[in-house]
Structures are given as structure tokens and as C-alpha cells.
């Protein structure tokens, strides 16, 4: 299991450059799960909130004897009420993600997993609960969860193109989908609509290889998908470029429109650019709370 370990280590280093990400919770009231988001009032939590005089009904063991010894009255230490947000991740594990046009450029899936786990590290460090969409790994807190996430990310999917998992979404939670979104558009649309119906907001990160953006091909070529299920032959690849780029732009526009409609954030990331910029964007978008 070296791969998850190294993946986690690299994700930690990526995440170490950011302050802990405290995702702003929008509707704290609806959630009962406790976390370290201060509610600006007394409640259960770890951080000190205030001392107050003992009132009738307070059990004796709640008295803070150290404070009480300094005066005649008895005091009770109150803690701030804290709450945690749940963030669910979906990272495309399909074969189409395992593509890199050049040895110097990482595979798309590698970049996607790195980004997702970096976000997870930031969130866990901020006290949030992180998990995967679906039922495989529900959101939990703690560093142990990061290990589990890393293990889950190490699993490859045999399918040619991945479909977003939108089952078992926790209502009002946050979500992040990372994929190349080159498959059929309809399942993506369905998944996002379903998520929006449950009040889930989030970020949609499209990871593309530079060659997918530039289409630098010439001559007679047979293009095959990574799994080999799809193929297309052309006599002059150079002539296809313009039309291919139009289609790619259309797909991006469709994704952006869909995000705008569902309250999500859309970002397109290229593997030859730095992962930091993408992480920065994700941090901002999750922190902003869906950009409403």
C-alpha cells in the first residue's frame, strides 16, 4: 500500500501551504453534528467561552474550582458551542483519467486525487468531516479518515468513463466533483440536479490534459479511448482541430451553465499547470460557500 501512503504524504505537503480551511456553514441549525465552528454562544465544545456564576441546578462537578477560589462566589466554565460541516468528494477513477500526453505531465487521475486529498487534508485540519459520495465512505473526522480516503483513491475503476455518484448525499452538505467530464453529459446533469435538490452545494473541477486542450495532432490517425471501447479514424487529424475545439468549448460552457443553475462552482484545471492554483481556487470556492 505504498501508493496511498505517498499520495497522502504529497497531499499533506500541498495542504501544508494553506491556513486551515474553515468552510463556512450556512445552516448550522439543521445539523446536529458537532465540530469546531464557533457558534458565538455557549454550548458543547472544546474552546473556552466564558465564566458565569453558578446557578441553581448546576451540578457540582461543573464548578470551576480554580476560578471560584479567587473570589467568594462559585463560577462555572462555559465552552463555545461548536459544529462541523460535512464535505463529500467524488473523484473520477475511470480509465479516461489515467492519461498523460507527456512524461513530464502527471496523469489526470493523479492530479485529481491529489487535489481531492489536499482539500480533504485542509478540511480535516479545520475540523470538518470529509467522505466520499455514495455509501463507500461516509464523512468522518480525524486523520484516520484521510488514510481511508487515500486508500479509496488508490482503487482504479475499469470503466472507460466515470459517472458521478450522487447517492446518499447528506442534505445541506458540501460536495466536490473532480473529473474530466468527457463522458455523456446527461448523467452529470442528473447528478448535479439531484444534489441541488437536496441542498448540496459544491465545486465542479474539470481536469484536462494539455493535449486535450490543444489537439496538436497531424496526419492519419486512429484515436482510441483509454479503455479501447471508442475509436475514431481520421485521415487528416490536423483538419479536425477546429471542430474538436468547438466541441470542447461547448462542453465547458454546458458544465458552467449547469453549475450556475445549481449553485455550484465550475473550474477547469490543466495538468501542466500547478496544483496550487487549483487548490487555491477550491479553497476559495468552498470557503465562499457556493458563491450564491
Amino acid at each position: 500500500m505504498t501508493y496511498p501512503l505517498t499520495l497522502r504524504a504529497r497531499a499533506e505537503t500541498e495542504a501544508a501551504r494553506f491556513p486551515p480551511l474553515l468552510a463556512r456553514a450556512e445552516q448550522l441549525a439543521g445539523t446536529v453534528l458537532l465540530g469546531e465552528h464557533g457558534r458565538r454562544r455557549a454550548g458543547q465544545g472544546d474552546d473556552f467561552w466564558q465564566y458565569r456564576p453558578v446557578q441553581q441546578g448546576d451540578p457540582m462537578r461543573m464548578i470551576d474550582w480554580r476560578r471560584s477560589a479567587r473570589s467568594d462566589a462559585q463560577f462555572v466554565r462555559e465552552r463555545e458551542w461548536q459544529i462541523a460541516q460535512s464535505v463529500m468528494l467524488w473523484v473520477d477513477q475511470a480509465a479516461s483519467m489515467r492519461f498523460a500526453s507527456d512524461a513530464k505531465v502527471p496523469e489526470k487521475s493523479d492530479r485529481a486525487r491529489l487535489l481531492a486529498l489536499a482539500v480533504a487534508v485542509l478540511l480535516v485540519r479545520g475540523g470538518e468531516r470529509v467522505g466520499l459520495t455514495g455509501t463507500a465512505l461516509p464523512p468522518r473526522r480525524g486523520n484516520q479518515q484521510l488514510l481511508r480516503l487515500a486508500e479509496m483513491f488508490a482503487l482504479d475503476d475499469a470503466a472507460d468513463y466515470g459517472l458521478p455518484e450522487s447517492r446518499a448525499m447528506i442534505p445541506q452538505a458540501r460536495a466536490m466533483f473532480v473529473s474530466d467530464f468527457l463522458s455523456d453529459f446527461a448523467p452529470v446533469e442528473a447528478a448535479l440536479t439531484k444534489a441541488a435538490d437536496r441542498g448540496v452545494r459544491g465545486a465542479l473541477v474539470q481536469v484536462l490534459d494539455p493535449s486535450e486542450e490543444a489537439f496538436p495532432f497531424q496526419g492519419r490517425t486512429i484515436f482510441q479511448s483509454m479503455g479501447g471501447t471508442l475509436a475514431h479514424e481520421t485521415l487528416k487529424a490536423g483538419d479536425l482541430r477546429g471542430r474538436y475545439l468547438e466541441r470542447l468549448a461547448a462542453r465547458k460552457a454546458a458544465l458552467a451553465d449547469l453549475c450556475a443553475a445549481t449553485g455550484w462552482q465550475y473550474h477547469c484545471h490543466h495538468t501542466h499547470t500547478s496544483a496550487q492554483s487549483a487548490l487555491l481556487w477550491i479553497w476559495q470556492s468552498l470557503g465562499r460557500g457556493g458563491g450564491i
Binding site: I222, S225, H232, L235, R247
Partner: protein, 920 residues
């Protein structure tokens, strides 16, 4: 089959070119194979149609490239040859290549050798058997394959003589049976036996002659007459005007060979001899060793010079100058006549003449000299002067050398002498006995009319027999000789004029003076005078005019030396005969070179021929290049080679590395200089022997640590210095271990070293061999050191004296051991005038730090420490060994103190006196 300058070996193959159009059509029809690419975004491509239904065909220029490649292969295989020799009939007859092989052919030997090689190559292509015969070194002709000969031709070189009739006879005798074709490379000079050789060769087959267009040039021996040097150049055939330069080579005062004078010389059109005159100072003239025609390489273009240019200075002193007397009775008249042509004469009082340091002093009938004169004359003789004394009435009457042998006389003399054949005596005048073999006059013929009527008589002595070098028929000594120091004194027992004998009137007198080296041999020398002497070659010329050491070549009979034809036994060169040297040159003064004339039936051709060049290789290589281009173009077309990649490959190929390395070297130099100067560092010269260099570095590290702990000198880590690339001026001290196989530094490195030594640096040379053979050349390391140090500007050396400042700069030392414990360490010699002042423990040696210290004690090995400070190598045994190591460190400390403080310690002895003078 020949098209223009190109011929084809197998023209039928050219029909293959007809296939090209068919190939064109086939290639055109087949589109390039598709590439399979993995591409996740193929989902977006689905359903896109190609614009044009035209197949992506191979473009026309790529087709053309391929066609050209195929055409080049076809044409190349058809065997094209540039400049085919149309007249060359492939013949299977054997081919004999005859070279004169003399010095006259040396001046365009390369052209000759090239043509020879080309002919051998052609013969090899025709599978003819070949032989090469040099007439100057004839041997049996063996016909062999041409390839065998091609390997040997490179080793052929011209000989410094021309073929002689004996050689021709030998060559004719060695010719093989059967008929063969002959190619004769003539040197352009005629010689005896050439016609016979030509007849013998023509009897066997056709003969073709090859001659260079240039007529051979040769330098005649330089002569000196009437105060000017005459130099003449001869050419075999009169031609157009020609300007040449003759360089006079000789030794400069430092002993290095260099050009002393350049003399322009001009052939007028139609002349065969050109002359020039030069007036050079006597000192310069005497140093000339040879003349060379600039830009010509042949033995004929070099004329060695001998004693004839350096005239000897002879001082003539007579005891009795009869100003009033008859000129013919003057004791010096005949000597003047005999010597004037080829010696510079000095006259005057003895003490005026001696400071001029003449080669010879002749005292004619001088009996007694003043004690001062006598002492000076004796000193001059002991230093190599030749004192020649003639007897006479005064000497006979005086008491000189009567009872005791006078230091300046070879024998004791009887009183009065004797007179024979006169009016008052019974006997006839005596004649000379033939000279014995051990006499310097051996070989000279004695004319019958030379008689002696009066002489001084030698007193019989045990040593007399050894000292007689000429005697009369009755056995009385006539000439006696004695060695004094490096010089000698010779007494002629007769007068220098015709009073006592007729000897001065005869030619024998002059020749005897010659033999005594009183006068140097002039141009009038002939073989007869040298008969009976043996001359040892000192330097000889090879055919290309290079001067070589004669080494162990056999001596030559004097009779042959000047007249016999040159050959393997008598090479042109410089011959030594004891007192004198004679140069035998390729041409003697009266030689006239005759151009070789060939009969009209023999075709004479020049060397220059357009070489036959087979083009197959070029065409096939071109085809390969085209196919390579095709590979790249095909890759580019099918999209397998992206533009960026191709550009990167091209740029990488084009970027020359040297710029980078120069820049790096500059940076490296700066780093080195900063590292070397930021702190005091010791350095050692890299020898290329890894182990030795490591040891030297470790040794200097040990010494640096010792200095650090014991003295206020605190050196940093030592450095290795590369003589060729590093700046050595940054180090006050360099350690140079000697190993026999280290490379000799370049000229620039030596300049650096000399600059370093002159500007105050010190080098410690360590032969590391314990100086087992005493200081010298017996060990390989010692020889290497001599070889390395020869170009260095090193002052006179002496073994380190007891009071040298090195013995007390820090520790008081008298031994300087390293790993070995040899005593001798050599340093710059102290000045001769250094004297020990009374009351001072040391001599007054104040100035200068010795630039070199030379020894063989392997100091670095004794100093060497590893990184933890442990000694690397054992020294000696037990405590005594450790003591020796300690002394080695102390020597190192003293040495560094000497380098860094100079003679400060030497000046310390004056401190009490200085303080005293200051009144404290």
C-alpha cells in the same frame, strides 16, 4: 564507359534507373500508415467527418527524396570513377618503380611519395605485382603485391648521396627475370651509370620517366676570404630569376641553436650559380654551425661549416727583431707567409698579446722571459694554449733548460747545439726521417730536398722518447712536444727561417703547422694532406637535410674524406680529427650539377595528375543521408515528430560545447583563484599519478597542521595545482614530486614556472628515491628531474651548506630527512664572495630566498596524515623512526618559514650590532 570526367565500371547497372518511374507510381499510391493514439477526448470526436475525401498521400517532395536515394544507390553500385585514367590499359605485366632516391629528390619528396602511392594503388586495382627499387640503396628486386608495398612506402626516405656506378651495377644485378614495365622517378640530376641503368631497364620493357618541374638546388660550402663570407647556391638547370634566403644557424651565447643571420641570394634568369657575400663579426662567424636554404628540405640545401670559418688567432713573437736586417732573414717571415692566408696574426709584446687570448703563441728564438711574463705564459698554456717555440742562435747560446727542464720547454737542451754539413764539419746535412705512426705528422710525405744543417740538441732523458714527434734520419729529435695542463708546448729544434734548415722553404712546413693546428685548414686542402689520419663523424646529414648525431658510425680515412664519393660509409657531415673539424658537404666547391637528359623516346611526365577517385562510397553515403532525411520527414508528416522536439534535437546538435566549457573554465579559474588566495595554502604540482598526487596532498595537509599547531603560520587545506590550467603565482610554495612517467609541461607552463621562480616562488623538487645514486642521472627519477628542470630558469646550485639559513629559520637542524634520510639537499649556491666575519657564527648571506630546493627524501610521505590526523605511512622503526618523522616536520616548518620570512633569521645576527649602534 565514360561521361565527361566520370567513368563507370559496370554501366549496365545504370539500366536500373528505368525502375524509378514505376517506383514513383507505387509509392504515390500507398498512403502513409495511420498512427494509433490513446486519446480520452475521443468521445468529443465521434461523428466528425473529414473535410476532403482525398487520401492523405505522400507529398511529392518526399517521393523525390526517396527517388534520389534509390538513384544514388543505383549509380553508386555502377562503380563511378572521377578522372579515370583513360590511357591506362589494365595490364598484368609486373611494374617496377625505380627511384633515384638521392638528396636531390628530397626537396619535393612528398610529391614523389604521393605519386608513388597512387601508382601502387592503381597497380593494386589491376592486381599487378610491384617492386620498388631505390638506386641509392640497391637491393634485389622482389615482386610483391601492391598492398604490401604501400605500407612500406611511407617509411622510405631519400638518402644524402646520389647513386654511384657501383650502386647501379648492384641494382642491375638485382633485377628480376622476365619483362616488366618501369616507372622511373628521376631526381633531375645526371650521374654516372644512369645510361647503363636505362639500357638495362629498356631491355625488359617500356620505361616511363617522372620528373618534378623544379630543378634541384644545392648550397656550396661557404668560404671565407679577404674578410668576407662567400655563399653560393647552384642549380642544375638555368631557369627564371629566383630569390632565396640562406639562413646561417649557430649557437647563441646561451648555447641554444638559432638563426644568426639571414642572407638573401638571387639567381638571375639564365644563371646556374648565385652568390652572395656577407661580412659578419669574427665572433659571430666562429659560432656558425651550418647554412640552410630557407624552405628547402634536402641534404644539398644544407652546408655545414667547420673550422675554416673560424680563423685561429696566432701571436708571433720574435726575440730578435732585425729591423735593419734583410727581410728574408727575419725569423718571422716564413711563418707570416705560411699563416697569413688562414689565420689572424697578432704581433706585439708578449704581455700586450696575452690579454687577447690567442689560440697559438709562436716564440721564434726567444730564450728568456721575465718572471712575470713567464708566469702569465705558463698560466695561458695550462688553460689550453698552444705554445710553439723555434730554436735559434739565442736559444742555443742561452742557459735555458740546460740543467733543469724549463717549464716552458719540452726537453732539456745540450749546450751549443750542433752543426752538420757546413764548411767546418765532416758530415752531410741531415734529412728528415719518415714520421712514425704516433706522430701527429703521420701520413705527410717528406720531400727529399729538406735538409737540416744546424739544430739544438735534446739532452737524453727517460722522457725524451715520448716527447719526440719528428726526428732526423740519424735519430736526433727535430720536433718535441710536452703537455702542460690542458695546453702544450712544441719545440722545433731549428730556426723559423731558412738559416738552419730548408724546412721553412718546403710545403711540408705549412702542412706541419696545419697538423699542429697552428693554422686551420684552408680551402686548399686536398686529400694528400690528410692521408693517414682517421676522422670520426660527429654529426651527419640525412637525405632531408636534418642534422643527426653520428653516434657509433665508423671513422673515415682522411684520404677519402674530401674526395671520395658520398655513400653509406661516407655521409655528408661534420668530422672530427682530434684538433680540428672538417665538414664534408653534399657538394664540394668545384662540383657542377648536371641536369639529367633523357632520350627522346622516353616520355618524361610530371608528378601532377588528377587522382582517380572512386565515387561509389560518396554516392552510397549520400543515399544513406537522403534516407535519414526521409525518416525524419516521414515522422514529421505522420505527426510522430512534433515541431518542438525536432527543434530541440537540432538545437542540441548545433550548440557547440566549447563555448560552455570556456565559460565554465573561466568560472573555475575564478573559484580556484579565490580559494587559493582567501587563505594561505600550500600547493603541490599534479603529476598525473593518482596515488602520488594523493600522497602529496596528504603530506601537505600534515605539514599544514603541524604549522598550524606550532607556529603562527596557519595554512588552510592544501590544494592540487594543475600546471597547464591553474595559476601557480597564487602559491608561495609548491611541492613537486617527480615520477618518471609524468608528462613534460607545455611551453606555456614553463613560461609560467619561470615567471614563478623569478618572482620569488619556491619549488621543492622531490625525486623520492633517497638520492641513491648521488645527485645525478643514474636513477629514472633523477633523469626525469633533469629533463623537467632543463628549461627552467634555475640558478647555480650547491649542497645545502652548514650555515644556510634553512638550518635555523625555526628549529636548529642539520639533517633534513623525509621518509628517506639522504644527506644531500641542494639549494641555490651562495655568492662566491660570502665570507665569515670574525665573531659571527654564520657567513653574511643576507639576500634572496632560494627558488628551488632539490632532494630525494620523499618528504610528503613522511608528512602525510589522513583526515583524522594519523600518519599514513610508517617512517623507519620504532622511536628512531618517529624521531625521523619529527625531524621531517621540522624541516617542513623551517622550509615554510624560509619561504615566508626570507632571510629574516639571517639578519637576526646583526641585531646586537644594530642595537649597539642605536645606543641602547
Amino acid at each position: 564507359m565514360i561521361f565527361g570526367p566520370i567513368g563507370f565500371a559496370t554501366p549496365a547497372l545504370l539500366l536500373g534507373l528505368l525502375v524509378l518511374p514505376i517506383l514513383w507510381l507505387i509509392l504515390r499510391a500507398v498512403p502513409p500508415a495511420p498512427i494509433r493514439r490513446r486519446f480520452p477526448a475521443v468521445a468529443l470526436l465521434l461523428g466528425l467527418k473529414d473535410d476532403a475525401s482525398v487520401t492523405d498521400r505522400t507529398p511529392w517532395w518526399l517521393l523525390l527524396l526517396r527517388m534520389l536515394a534509390v538513384a544514388a544507390v543505383i549509380i553508386g553500385l555502377a562503380g563511378p570513377v572521377l578522372n579515370p585514367q583513360a590511357d591506362r590499359q589494365p595490364s598484368s605485366q609486373p611494374l617496377l618503380l625505380v627511384l633515384d632516391g638521392g638528396w636531390a629528390g628530397a626537396q619535393d619528396w612528398t610529391g614523389r611519395a604521393e605519386l608513388l602511392d597512387r601508382m601502387l594503388a592503381e597497380a593494386g586495382r589491376d592486381a599487378r605485382s610491384v617492386a620498388v627499387l631505390r638506386l641509392s640503396t640497391p637491393e634485389d628486386v622482389s615482386l610483391q603485391s601492391a598492398d604490401l608495398w604501400r605500407g612500406r612506402v611511407a617509411g622510405l626516405s631519400p638518402q644524402p648521396w646520389m647513386p654511384t656506378p657501383e650502386m647501379i651495377d648492384r641494382a642491375i644485378a638485382g633485377l628480376p627475370d622476365g619483362s616488366f614495365e618501369t616507372h622511373w622517378f628521376t631526381d633531375g640530376l645526371d650521374y654516372d651509370g644512369r645510361d647503363a641503368m636505362l639500357a638495362a631497364l629498356e631491355a625488359r620493357g617500356t620505361v616511363r620517366v617522372f620528373a618534378s618541374g623544379r630543378s634541384p638546388l644545392a648550397l656550396l660550402p661557404a668560404t671565407y676570404r679577404d674578410g668576407v663570407l662567400r655563399i653560393a647556391v647552384q642549380r642544375a638547370e638555368a631557369g627564371p630569376a629566383l630569390d632565396l634566403t640562406v639562413a646561417a644557424h649557430g649557437l647563441d651565447p646561451a648555447g641554444a641553436s638559432r638563426i644568426l643571420a639571414n642572407l638573401p641570394i638571387t639567381f638571375d634568369a639564365g644563371d646556374t650559380v648565385a652568390e652572395t657575400e656577407a661580412s659578419l663579426p669574427a665572433e659571430l662567424r666562429a659560432r656558425i654551425t651550418r647554412f640552410e636554404i630557407e624552405g628547402l628540405r634536402s641534404a644539398g640545401a644544407v652546408a655545414l661549416s667547420d673550422d675554416s670559418l673560424s680563423r685561429r688567432e696566432v701571436a708571433l713573437i720574435a726575440g730578435r727583431e732585425d729591423r735593419e736586417g734583410l727581410e728574408l732573414l727575419s725569423p718571422l717571415h716564413y711563418l707570416r707567409q705560411a699563416l697569413a692566408p688562414n689565420a689572424d696574426l697578432l704581433t706585439g709584446a708578449l704581455r700586450d698579446v696575452l690579454p687577447a687570448n690567442p689560440d697559438v703563441i709562436i716564440l721564434a728564438d726567444v730564450a728568456s722571459l721575465s718572471p712575470n711574463e713567464e708566469a702569465e705564459l705558463l698560466e695561458w698554456t695550462e688553460q689550453g694554449g698552444l705554445l710553439l717555440r723555434f730554436a735559434g742562435p739565442r736559444l742555443a747560446a742561452s742557459e735555458v733548460s740546460r740543467t733543469e727542464e724549463h717549464p716552458l720547454m719540452p726537453v732539456r737542451l745540450r749546450a751549443g747545439g750542433r752543426s752538420v754539413g757546413g764548411a767546418m764539419s765532416w758530415g752531410d746535412p741531415k734529412s728528415l726521417a719518415p714520421f712514425t705512426e704516433d706522430s701527429p705528422f703521420f701520413g705527410l710525405t717528406v720531400p727529399a730536398d729538406v735538409t737540416v744543417s744546424a739544430q739544438v740538441m735534446a739532452q737524453p732523458d727517460p722522457t725524451l722518447a715520448d716527447r719526440v714527434i719528428a726526428q732526423l734520419t740519424d735519430g736526433t729529435p727535430l720536433v718535441t712536444r710536452k703537455a702542460i695542463g690542458q695546453g702544450q708546448v712544441v719545440l722545433m729544434h731549428v730556426t723559423a727561417n731558412a738559416e738552419w734548415s730548408s724546412l721553412p722553404l718546403s710545403g711540408l712546413f705549412v702542412r706541419m703547422l696545419d697538423r699542429l693546428a697552428v693554422s686551420s685548414l684552408g680551402q686548399q686542402t686536398d686529400g694528400a694532406e690528410l692521408d693517414g689520419t682517421t676522422w670520426q663523424p660527429v654529426q651527419v646529414l640525412d637525405g632531408l637535410g636534418r642534422v643527426q648525431d653520428a653516434q657509433t658510425m665508423a671513422g673515415v680515412n682522411g684520404a677519402m674524406l674530401l674526395t671520395a664519393a658520398l655513400g653509406p660509409e661516407l655521409r655528408p657531415g661534420l668530422y672530427d680529427g682530434g684538433d680540428r673539424r672538417i665538414a664534408r658537404n653534399t657538394l664540394s666547391a668545384d662540383t657542377v650539377m648536371q641536369p639529367a637528359d633523357w632520350p627522346g623516346r622516353i616520355p618524361v611526365e610530371g608528378f601532377a595528375r588528377a587522382p582517380e577517385t572512386p565515387l561509389t562510397g560518396y554516392l552510397l553515403a549520400g543515399a544513406l543521408l537522403l534516407l535519414l532525411g526521409d525518416v525524419i520527414a516521414s515522422l514529421a508528416l505522420s505527426g510522430r515528430l512534433s515541431g518542438a522536439k525536432a527543434a530541440a534535437v537540432l538545437v542540441a546538435a548545433l550548440l557547440a560545447l566549447p563555448q560552455d566549457s570556456a565559460a565554465q573554465q573561466q568560472a573555475g579559474n575564478d573559484d580556484f583563484a579565490i580559494a587559493a588566495t582567501s587563505e594561505l595554502r600550500l600547493g603541490h604540482i599534479m603529476t598525473g599519478d593518482r596515488r602520488l598526487d594523493d600522497m602529496a596532498l596528504a603530506g601537505l595537509r600534515g605539514l599544514s597542521e603541524t604549522l598550524f599547531f606550532r607556529t603562527s603560520v596557519e595554512p588552510a587545506e592544501p590544494m592540487s595545482v594543475n600546471l597547464e590550467t591553474d595559476e601557480i603565482g597564487l602559491f608561495p610554495f609548491l611541492y613537486w614530486p617527480i615520477t618518471p612517467d609524468q608528462p613534460t609541461p607545455s611551453v606555456e607552463a614553463y613560461e609560467k614556472l619561470n615567471r614563478y621562480l623569478r618572482s620569488g616562488g619556491m619549488i621543492l623538487f622531490d625525486t623520492r628515491d633517497a638520492d641513491v645514486a648521488g645527485f645525478g642521472t643514474a636513477s629514472p627519477n633523477g633523469r626525469k628531474l633533469q629533463q623537467l628542470a632543463e628549461p627552467l630558469d634555475i640558478p647555480a646550485l650547491e649542497p645545502l651548506p652548514q650555515d644556510h639559513v634553512l638550518t635555523r629559520t625555526f628549529y636548529l637542524l642539520q639533517d633534513f630527512p623525509g621518509r628517506h634520510n639522504a644527506r644531500d639537499v641542494w639549494v641555490e649556491a651562495s655568492p662566491a664572495d660570502a665570507e665569515q666575519v670574525e665573531g659571527m657564527p654564520f657567513r653574511n648571506l643576507n639576500d634572496g630566498v632560494t627558488p628551488v630546493v632539490i632532494g630525494g627524501n620523499d618528504w610528503a610521505a613522511a608528512w602525510a596524515k589522513d583526515a583524522r590526523g594519523n600518519a599514513l605511512l610508517p617512517v623507519g622503526r620504532g622511536y628512531a623512526g618517529e624521531r625521523q618523522r619529527e625531524l621531517a616536520y621540522r624541516f617542513g616548518v623551517n622550509l615554510l618559514m624560509h619561504v615566508l620570512t626570507g632571510n629574516y633569521k639571517s639578519d637576526q645576527v646583526h641585531v646586537p650590532a644594530l642595537l649597539d649602534r642605536l645606543g641602547q
